[in-house]
Amino acid sequence: MCAIDRRSFIARTSGIAAGMALTPILGASMGRLESTVRVGIIGCGRQGRAIIAELSSFETVTIGAICDSEPRRLNAGKRRAKDAQAFADHRAMLDTGTLDAVFIATPTHLHREFATDALQAGLHVYCEAPLSNTPEDAKAIAQAARGSTNVFQAGYLARANPVYQLARTFFVSDSVRTLVAMEAVRARKTSWRTPANDAEMNKRLNWRLDPEVTTGLAGEWGSHQFDVFHWYTGKYPTRVSGFGSIRLHDDGRTVHDTISASLAFPSGEILTYNATLANSYEGAHELLRGENAAIKLAWTHGWMFKEADAPTQGWEVYANRQQFHNDEGITLIAGATKLAEQGKLKDGIGLPHTPLWYSVESFLKSVTEDAPVACSADEAFRSTIIGIRTHEAITTGRTIEIDPAELG
């Protein structure tokens, strides 16, 4: 594990860095793959159903089976995947031997059993992120994936997101230059609860609020955003500290609804992370501040804010700009040149698909066309560990040292 060498990256991607803004990289509206694939979904909660909806847009994908031990969720899955065979037990589903790949969208602490069983059954696996709630389980998944010849992709969505991919080319090609600081925010006003009618059901469904198994906001939300910085910089923090409290949902829970953390990188950069369930202002975004520019990323949108003394680059002539109070952001649009030729540059602001769609598409292309995996088990393992350790720092109030050896 080492930081990306900026010079070697430029050499490898010569002509692409500027070209990414100029090259159409957005596909057709409906997913097209070179061969058919038959998939199963384990977990039909909110995320599982979102995956079903995205998979339904792919012409050559058949949702052959769905699985959930919760009858209500299984029924919800069946309504969306009408032709799929429904299972309450994942082993029965895997034993059918009719599937090529499975998507795992269960509670985080249950991923290990499902992922390792699916890999053992010889299936390609897409596993939601974080990989697990403990380093041991995350390591077991990563090891199983490494020992398999099948595709394993983790659901850290940024890595397959065209806006994030485009922005990364600017980042690694020196548009930002020296990285000064990193910030990320996730804010959403929600109780994070699922309605449950009895204590047993509550334990099962409200696992995110169960201190025994949750990785809290730092793991469940934060690790997705930490992964962006890991992917961009090729670096990982070695020291983490933070605080948390219950600011709004004082309903008997012990898991914080608001957290703030600092993740210190060995080269001196600090990533400041704030997340809350008590307010929704600004939603989710990541910010990389550099000597020449700042890059702000917000799922379907990205912007670059240039310093006055930063050199001008050719691609800027195509750029759309948006005003943010006193700052002007250059909109980072994937496929900008093609859109400009079509007179649709403004229409191009924002992605034509959800970030989840691109992640699913990327996985399917890895399965059917041998395309590179967007987020490997090893990469996901490292971001998972950082999420777990940050949660640990916040809940214990201690500064946690992360030994790089722990990240494999």
Partner: protein
């Protein structure tokens, strides 16, 4: 969907009600993301860009319903946005598209669809007393109010007519009309704004169906014979109506109802 959704939930601990309400709101948000024609990533945007859009079974059923209501209403309700275009549904692989040059707008049915999904989510969570509405023009109720009385809707408050009052329990409703927003209902057969009726309202089991039929009634100005018997149609007049337990719609006081039309068949 360009309006505020409100949920009133009762009959349990606040913690549980809030969690159930949040799940219902997520259904509404998800539906909005799929059906909006103003964002590039939506299913409707893809269809309008000319794609043969493959959709999941549940969404395909919505497009089938929209097309069925178009046929039953003799084109008084139509999600395609110009008179010459057709909705193309391909059942075997569940693809939706529109004939060349056309586009679709689910504004006349999407709110009701979102309400139905929200109501289903609330029912599945175990909620027994709830009222959900979207911008005051479409809504649905689960059970009764906490005091056991039905949920009361007032229709036509902003029209020159006396408002109609309807009591509902486990029912959905929708109102379509011009009084509040000016002439905003387009007759899809002529693509001009309609003046057939000040408003049209519909009461039934599904907010989605009611939403579409309320628009059709407003365009037609009368109940067509092809409208399903399970739906109550309401057109302007002075009256208060009650939905009886057997589903019949009866006037509370028959005398002023001569000016109103409220029929099932």
């Amino acid at each position: 969907m360009g309006c505020r959704f409100e949920l009133v939930l009762a009959g349990g601990p606040e913690l549980w009600l809030r969690a159930a309400g949040e799940e219902a709101i997520e259904e509404i948000d998800t539906t909005h993301a799929l059906l909006t024609r103003f964002k590039p990533g939506s299913v409707v945007s893809h269809i309008n860009e000319g794609a043969q859009q493959r959709v999941d079974g549940e969404l395909f059923a919505l497009f089938e319903l929209a097309d069925r209501i178009r046929q039953q209403s003799e084109d008084a309700f139509d999600i395609t946005r110009n008179a010459d275009s057709n909705l193309l549904l391909h059942q075997p692989n569940r693809t939706v598209s529109v004939s060349q040059g056309g586009s679709v707008d689910l504004g006349g049915i999407g709110k009701g669809y979102a309400i139905d999904l929200a109501i289903r989510s609330l029912r599945e969570a175990g909620i027994t007393s709830a009222f959900v509405h979207a911008g005051g023009s479409s809504g649905a109720a689960i059970g009764t109010r906490p005091d056991g009385s039905p949920w009361r809707i007032s229709i036509g408050e902003s029209t020159p007519l006396d408002p109609l009052r309807i009591d509902i329990t486990n029912r959905a409703f929708a109102v379509s009309g011009d009084a509040q927003q000016g002439q905003h209902i387009t007759d899809p057969r002529t693509m001009s704004t309609t003046t057939a009726s000040v408003f049209g309202a519909c009461v039934g089991e599904s907010a989605c169906e009611c939403d579409a039929w309320a628009t059709a009634l407003c365009v037609l100005g009368a109940r067509p014979a092809t409208m399903p018997e399970s739906l109550h149609s309401i057109l302007p007049g002075k009256c208060a109506w009650r939905i009886e337990p057997d589903g019949c719609l009866t006037p509370e006081d028959p005398s002023p109802c001569a000016q109103s039309t409220a029929v099932r068949s």
